[in-house]
């Protein structure tokens, strides 16, 4: 069946109502024929009732009642569409500074970030913020959508000016792959089909980019990391002494027969079998969920990690972390939090707040140590037991963690290990 070659691409969008983000998503869904008649009829009725001239495609993405009433997006909404080439998951987030945490959430799993710029206004504070978040969360590919080109007479000059200005400041950011597309989401220029209004633009449409960008290298295939998630024990006659270590490959390629090291014990063994319901595998790589059997009878449990002997993660109780704060109770210096890291849990204490980052200017403020909701800061923590970590830059799975309030159980912060 031909759909079996489709890949999955996740992308995030951030933007406010005004820059046409919802219209862009609506346009992608509509032009790729992912909108159903009943959905279209519903937004058509609403548009007419509101007295709007055209069918408002933005209404497709405004989910909850409160949002539709206030005309704002307050959370991360996930949208889906597919083309014969790929399936897409959109993490749609609001763009204002008070929703930084939502943007961070949406960005955490994205392969591609779309940044919208209103061609009339050029680069504004919000653009810098979105680009910074994309770089902080290490989204591998960035697409700068210079939107509303119809309102600047499809001017190449305007496009080039914005492009240069963006390149100048993104130079300071840690972004690897940046693309620019001039478009009009409202009219559909360069969204799905290449625009006839901008012959000077040599590149493809946004959808063309999303369908073709190479995402094969977005996972770390070098450093073997297998956090043990769950121990499969059938307790049946057929599988008497069976101990299968179930988990999802967080990095590297594991092969049958590989010599491996177990953390925290430091014991070594060999991979006897890589088991799935559909049969044994010769090798396994991210993001596969498999079950590993080892040759030796060793006692591993959830939170342990299987790695290669000559390439293991940092084993440490002291970490430097960039944290994005999610809660209205500020981060407490010397406060204690529960930590979730891979399949491991620990407690930690905040030993030091190094600086708070102004995400509009990237200025490091070492005086203001009050880290409130939506703030991003660099902190030093000490954990109650060793964690097996990589830098976030090297591996988004073994380099990330959550802070959980021990009283309320809420997720209060997201951390990226430096």
């Amino acid at each position: 069946m031909d759909f079996q070659n489709n890949e999955l691409l996740r992308f995030s969008t951030a933007g406010s109502v005004d820059d046409g983000k919802s219209t862009l998503i609506g346009r992608l869904l509509y032009d790729s024929k992912s909108i159903f008649e009943d959905q279209y009829d519903a937004i058509k009725t609403t548009s007419e009732r509101r007295g709007e001239e055209n069918v408002n495609l933005a209404l497709l993405t405004d989910g909850l009642k409160a949002e539709r009433e206030q005309g704002i997006t307050i959370d991360v909404a996930y949208r889906y569409f597919s083309t014969p080439k790929r399936k897409f998951i959109i993490a749609d987030t609001p763009g204002h500074i008070q929703y930084t945490r939502n943007m961070v959430t949406g960005a955490s799993t994205a392969n591609v970030a779309l940044i919208l710029i209103d061609a009339r206004n050029g680069i504004v504070e919000q653009t810098r913020r979105h680009a910074f978040i994309a770089s902080l969360l290490q989204i591998p590919h960035l697409v700068v959508c210079i939107n509303k080109m119809d309102l600047v007479d499809y001017s190449e000059e305007v496009y080039n000016r914005i492009k240069d200005e963006f390149s100048e400041f993104s130079y300071k950011l840690d972004v690897r792959d940046v693309h620019f597309i001039p478009m009009s989401a409202l009219n559909g220029d360069n969204v799905v089909d290449k625009s006839k209004n901008m012959e000077w633009y040599g590149g493809g449409s946004l959808l063309y980019f999303l369908e073709n960008v190479h995402i094969g290298s977005d996972h770390n295939l070098i450093d073997c990391r297998f956090p043990v998630q769950y121990v499969v024990r059938p307790y049946s006659d057929e599988y008497h002494d069976y101990r299968g270590y179930a988990g999802r490959i967080a990095g590297g390629v594991f092969k049958k027969g590989d010599k491996v090291m177990l953390l925290p014990s430091g014991f070594t063994s060999k991979i006897d079998k890589i088991v799935t319901y559909d049969g044994e595998l010769e090798e396994a790589y991210p993001p596969m969920s498999v079950t590993l059997l080892l040759e030796d009878d060793l006692d591993l449990s959830r939170g342990d990690m299987i790695v290669r002997e000559n390439n293991h993660p940092t084993i440490t109780q002291d970490l430097e972390v960039m944290v994005c704060w999610f809660n209205d109770r500020p981060l407490q210096l010397r406060g204690k939090y529960a930590l979730m890291h891979t399949t491991q849990e620990a407690r930690c204490v905040i030993k030091e707040i190094r600086y708070k980052l102004n995400i509009n200017t990237l200025h490091r403020d070492e005086e203001d140590k009050k880290i409130g909701m939506n703030d991003i800061a660099r902190v030093v923590i000490r954990t109650t037991k060793p964690l097996f970590t990589d830098s976030y830059r090297r591996n988004r799975i073994t380099g990330s963690l959550l802070f959980v309030d021990e009283g309320t159980n809420e997720t209060v912060g997201a951390g990226m290990i430096i």
């Binding site: 890949e7 159903f36 991360v76 769950y230 069976y242 319901y277 993001p287 988004r396 990330s400 959980v404």
Partner: protein, 300 residues
């Protein structure tokens, strides 16, 4: 060597990860089984996730008593095949005991009564995580649902107070009496589900394939002629080739004219469909925010 998974295998890997996370983080999880294709998919994925062990949690069916008989037959044979434990929460019993009151009128449905019975069943079993087959693409209120959806002690969903979910990290910590709803197939679309069921050759209830059935039209949707749905005088029963796109209670599940005989036929039909699958669900049509309102009260 090209190290990449196709979209279905990537979705599968994600769902298996979530199912194992539930088994690891919760003491008494339960899988909500409706007999619909989505809960069949979740059950299938659970079977794969814990292989060669059995599924380490029971299945819970909230039985409205107004079922298509095919659903119950399918359920019982699947449970036997898996060697799983089945718990049934009965809406009829709840009505008999006076716990809930049946709706009256032509559009009466027991769909709404399911919520109370579900909550009671969760409480009786002391379940702390209930997994379901809801998907984010189904309905606009579900587009923002989490994989791990926190519910307070009344089973209520507060859309403003959901925990952010980043990377692979799912926070299932809770206070006594609270529980979670977990949606392992959040990221699947209707088309993904069918494509996957096709490549996995999963056996499905016959209702999903075209069959001859007595139906009548109400509000632009065909409903199955059943003793459980009182007909208005002007509603005329006719025989047509139809199939279900979703399976719920017989009173609110629309059937669609279709000739699809195999999953491949269904995939063709779904990929060219012009109506969402819930377009046939009378329960969603009551008001514009019907789903959001029901979820807040503890619906699936």
């Amino acid at each position: 060597m090209n190290y990449h998974l196709n979209h279905l295998r990537e979705l599968e890997a994600e769902s298996i990860f979530v199912l194992r996370e539930v088994a690891a983080q919760f003491e008494r999880p339960v899988l909500l089984f409706s007999g619909g294709k989505d809960s069949i998919l979740v059950t299938h994925l659970a079977m794969k996730a814990f292989h060669p062990a059995k599924i380490p949690f029971p299945l819970l069916h909230i039985d409205t008593g107004h079922n298509f008989p095919e659903t119950i037959a399918y359920r019982d044979s699947l449970v036997e095949k898996l060697g799983a434990k089945l718990i049934v929460g009965s809406v009829q019993e709840a009505i008999d005991k006076g716990m809930v009151v049946e709706e009256k009128g032509y559009n009466a449905s027991r769909n709404f009564l399911q919520t109370a019975v579900l909550l009671e069943s969760l409480e009786n079993g002391k379940f702390d995580a209930a997994m379901g087959g809801a998907r984010r693409d189904e309905e606009k209120a579900r587009a923002k649902e989490r994989f791990f959806s926190h519910r307070d002690e009344f089973g209520q969903w507060d859309p403003k107070n959901q925990r952010p979910e980043l990377w692979n990290l799912f926070n299932g910590k809770k206070h006594y009496g609270e529980h979670f709803r977990v949606f392992p197939i959040s990221n699947w679309t209707e088309l993904d589900v069918w494509q996957y069921l096709a490549i996995e050759e999963v056996e499905l209830p016959s209702l999903y394939f075209a069959h001859r059935r007595k139906v009548f039209m109400r509000d632009g949707i065909y409903l199955a002629d059943s003793e459980f749905i009182p007909k208005r005088p002007e509603e005329e029963v006719e025989e047509r080739m139809v199939r279900c796109r979703t399976i719920g209670d017989v009173t609110c599940t629309g059937v669609w004219p279709s000739e699809a005989q195999s999953i491949e036929d269904i995939i063709k039909e779904v990929s060219t469909a012009r109506q969402t699958e819930r377009g046939g669900r009378a329960d969603d049509k009551r008001t514009e925010t019907a789903m959001e309102d029901r979820k807040k009260q503890g619906y699936f």
